[in-house]
Every structure is written in structure tokens, then in C-alpha cells.
Symmetry: C2
Subunit: 167 residues, 2 copies
DNA sequence: TATTGTTATACTCTATAACTATA
DNA sequence: TATAGTTATAGAGTATAACAATA
């Protein structure tokens, strides 16, 4: 639970606008000190790189997450995947339709509950997720190279504690 | 540049799904180890809290950021604000229209460049940003209480280094 | 010719309500 | 009645292309 750390040297002696302004020399006031603001910028940058990384397979981050969960939990019910990824049922439908029409995943009626669908990857879907995992590992390695394993683990750890703060 | 730290104790001995699944017992595979995935979940949680925090003033995160930059840089040109916040010019127009029509900001023709607008907050806008800063400080304090100043600074520092990784 | 702001448009993600079919 | 999935719809945020006015 505890954590000991030394932040990187503060290179801006006064204002502390840091790099957040993307080269701009404007005064951003409290923004560079707000977790939410820095989170938005970081997420934009990482998602753009993720999209570029998986562009050859035409897969967006949300589709990669869905494919991953189905791959790891064959026969999982549709609603479970959505809940695990915080995607609303109504929004999940068209995403799954997309995967299904591309021949990557299948809906099968649940054995004991006629309301549910059991989701599985097709052979093509399984082959795709393997290729994607290789691409994504390369994408992730850039962060690992920049931050080191300790820095990356620390970031993951801190980020993972945030959702629990807002019940 | 260097950083020393001890991640929090790993409470899940085996799988390490952590809290990312929001209580689900599904196997999320590599997702909880991906910075981008954890970033998305953290940002969703923080933005939702921010929106709730500023709901009484009917201000979304992006409007707060714009108001802040205009407040800190009176007379700033429209394009500069957009560039500082990574908002495309074409998308910035309607956002500024919203602030202007609500009587919070003004467009004035730039003194020396007839193409530009100089942006300023109205008295009402200035009063609003002061109230917002109080609300946002409370929102941010929750993170500070949870992580401590060291943890928060570490998080901000790591997040701030991410955009520079993708030129 | 290049830049600033604007309009138009499209796509993705998200949110809500109402519907169906099963339980 | 409650739940799983679906449809319809609306709102944000983001992206590109084309245009007018100005430099």
C-alpha cells in the first residue's frame, strides 16, 4: 500500500508548465498539475500510437479489448464482456456486430439461458489476436524503454487505483 | 531523470487482474498490464468525477481548460488556445461560441492581425473560473489524499512524459 | 502563397429510453 | 417481475476538406 519514490528532477524552477503545452509558451495555470488533464493528454497520445500500431489490421483499442476478453474466456456471455470493459449493453451490440461480420467472433445461443449469447473467436479471430498481441507488445515496449520496468509498474499501479476512488 | 520506487504490494498472487475488471472475475489477459488500457479506465473515472464536480456550473473538462487558458493569457489568439490544448481549429469554433453565447468569453479583432481574434474572459467568466478553481481543487484533493503528494507528483510526472514519446 | 477562422461533414464513443424474448 | 439483448436516438469529442478574409 505504501510507496516510496523520487520524482524526476524538476527542470522548470518557477512556473512548472512542463511539457503539457506541447511546445506552446502559454501559461496553463493549474492544468499541468491536474491528474485529469495530464491523463487526457497521455491517453490521446497513447491511443493514437495504438491505432497506428494496429492500423494494418484495422483494429481500434476497444475492439482489441473485446477480442482479448473473448479469447481469454471462450463462451463468455455478451453482457459479461461489456461489464468487464465498462461498455454499455446497447453500445456493445454494434461493436460485436462488427467483429461478427468480419468473421472474427461468433454469437451462439447460451446452453441454459435462452436470453444470452455465448461469444467465441473464430479461427480467424484467434489468429488475429495473436498477431495483434505481437504488435501491441511492440507498442508497449516503447513505454517500457522510456520508463523502465519500475516506472511502468508504478504508473500501472497508480492508474489502477484511480477507478476505486469513485464509487 | 532517474526514479526509485516500490510498487504497492501485489495482492493478487496469481492472475494479477487487479481491480481493472471492476469486480468481474473474467480473465482480462494482458489488458491490466497495458498502460493505454489502464489510462482509459482511469481517465473515464476521473472525468466522470470532474463532470459531477462542475455540474452545478454546467462546465465540462474541455470548457474548464479553455476558460483557464484565456484567464491566464488575456488577449490570447484563438488558434493559440486550441494549439495549447490540442484542439483542432475547426472544433474550437463551436466550443468558443458556447462560451461566448453564455457571456463568459469575448472575441475581439486582433490589434495588428486582422485574421485573428483576441480572447478574453468577461467579468462573469472571471468570477466563474474562480468558483471552478475551488471546486476543482476539491476534486483534485481526493487524489492527493489517496496517493499522497509523492504519489500524485510521480503520477503527474510519468503522465507528462508520455506525449513526448510519440513525435 | 500561407495563415486564421469558419462551415460542413463524418466517425467513434458514450448515454438513455423503449422494445423483444426469455427467465 | 426481472434480465439479456436489441433498436433508436442524442450528445460529446475528434478528424478532414473546402471556403472567405487577411497577411
Amino acid at each position: 500500500m505504501a510507496m516510496t519514490l523520487k520524482p524526476t528532477a524538476k527542470e522548470k524552477p518557477s512556473g512548472a508548465v512542463s511539457d503539457a503545452g506541447a511546445g506552446s509558451d502559454l501559461d496553463l495555470g493549474p492544468l499541468p498539475g491536474l491528474v485529469g488533464y495530464m491523463l487526457r493528454r497521455a491517453q490521446l497520445a497513447i491511443f493514437n500510437d495504438f491505432i497506428k500500431t494496429c492500423a494494418a489490421e484495422d483494429i481500434r483499442p476497444i475492439l482489441y479489448a473485446i477480442l482479448t476478453v473473448i479469447d481469454r474466456n471462450p463462451g463468455v456471455r455478451q453482457g459479461e464482456v461489456g461489464a468487464a470493459l465498462a461498455i454499455k449493453r446497447s453500445n456493445f451490440v454494434s461493436l460485436l456486430n462488427e467483429l461478427e461480420s468480419r468473421g472474427l467472433a461468433t454469437r451462439t445461443r447460451h446452453a441454459t439461458d435462452g436470453r444470452s449469447y455465448a461469444l467465441d473467436l473464430t479461427a480467424e479471430g484467434k489468429a488475429l489476436i495473436r498477431r495483434l498481441n505481437t504488435l501491441v507488445a511492440g507498442h508497449e515496449r516503447r513505454l517500457l524503454d522510456a520508463f523502465g520496468a519500475d516506472g511502468r509498474d508504478c504508473l500501472i499501479d497508480l492508474l489502477g487505483r484511480i477507478p476505486a476512488l469513485y464509487p
